[in-house]
């Protein structure tokens, strides 16, 4: 069982990702994004990607870097924030966007990882989000049927990983990383600290090793802050 690779590029090379693939990317805004894997994806140059990620980064960091290189054909997100490049590509019709309510997005990804074929959520009933979807009344309340999301590849960032692939996240950098780690056909994790198997408390593991195919210690972490706010 050899999951540890030396670099993000090596991990991606093992996967053999094709143009047009669906890639799930963890993080919320710039918090907890797999910085090194995004850079390696940019280096790899694969095109026409569908990227499932709660946000789309900013112009010059995170997924914004893949917008610069026009590698993303479609984004599945709940909020795309202030990203001028995104806006331009969207208005030009180069970039397709599917807006999914944040909780529905998280649940669809979890469902994808947990083998659920679909689920009924009250979120979005009576709104544009429910258009074209099955709705039904269950015990007097209206629900919308939502489908699972999976992808050829899931990219996540954790704080600590062990050599078996067990992961611990830190603070709110956990966010979408935990469900996304379960929903890739192949999942690659990058970590700030890599420790020998056995170093982590089995009660405290956030993502069990079964979900992780490859992992690497990130070469460098910028951990940029979007809205630095102080007292």
């Amino acid at each position: 069982m050899k999951k540890v690779v030396q670099s993000a590029a090596e991990a991606l090379a093992k996967v053999g990702l094709n143009d047009g693939a669906t890639v799930l990317v963890g993080g919320f805004g710039l918090c907890g994004i797999p910085e090194n894997l995004i850079l390696a994806l940019r280096e790899l140059g694969v095109k026409n990607l569908t990227v499932v990620s709660n946000n789309a980064g900013i112009d010059d960091f995170g997924l914004g870097l893949l917008l610069q290189t026009r590698q993303i054909r479609k984004m599945v997100s709940s909020y795309v924030g202030e990203n001028k490049l995104f806006e331009r590509q969207y208005l030009d019709g180069e970039l397709e966007v599917e807006f999914v309510p944040q909780g529905t997005l998280a649940e669809r990804i979890r469902a994808g990882g947990a083998g659920i074929g679909g689920f009924y959520t009250p979120t979005g009933y009576g709104t544009p989000v429910a258009e074209g979807k099955e709705t039904r009344e269950i015990d007097g309340k209206m629900y919308v049927l939502e489908k699972p999301i999976t992808g050829e590849l899931a990219l996540v960032k954790a704080h600590i990983g062990d050599t078996h692939g067990n992961l611990l996240y830190r603070k709110t950098a956990r966010n979408f990383n935990q469900p996304i780690a379960t929903a890739g056909k192949i999942t690659i994790a990058e970590v700030e600290q890599l420790v020998p198997v056995g170093d982590l408390d089995p009660d405290q593991i956030h993502t069990p090793s079964i979900f992780v195919n490859y992992l690497l210690k990130g070469a460098h972490y910028e951990k940029r802050i979007e809205q630095r706010t102080t007292r």
């Binding site: 944040q102 909780g103 529905t104 649940e107 009933y125 709110t172 966010n175």
Partner: protein
Amino acid sequence: MKNESSRERLAKRAALELQDGYYVNLGIGIPTLVANYVPEGMTVVLHSENGLLGIGPFPEDGEVDADLINAGKQTVTALPGASYFDSASSFGMIRGGHINLAILGALEVSQAGDIANWMVPGKMVKGMGGAMDLVAGAQRVVVVMTHNDKSGASKLLPECTLPLTGKRCIDLIITEKAVFEVDKQAQELVLIEKDPELSLEAIQACTAAKYRVALREPVSA
């Protein structure tokens, strides 16, 4: 009191909806200010949908942590008793009805309790974020907004004209002019408080939604 900004007055009034032991989600903007008016001795736990229960104040300069942000992507701190969790669990809390109270802004609210707050006419759509889940899932949903838009048109309407965020989900509307409960059965609003300096006629003149009047002692804000 008169020197307070309108934003602060709205936040103060909204804070009166808090109760001891409540788990509360505060939206971006004025709702965030509500945190400043939690009464002494009351414990309210603030939820951030990106995966935190127990939001604390903004950090000191040296305390800033890139791994600790709120749903508005601002750096924050966490209070004793806080917990971190993933996004699926976080929205399980919301959708499962575990959040006692959500306070958020709106562009329009209808007399049946519909809300529109995610698509701004003439602007690029940024997405709904977690708003649709919050209005559909929280036990009680309170809207804090200006009574009228910049052109003076009522934001309380018989029917929303903008694409909805949620249907029949709002419980209370707080504006700088008045407070309305939503009677979802009757599909009308109930005017329960008003700015004492405004007459009933003045409220009527700037409100398009249907409402009945059942004024209570104005809660001191």
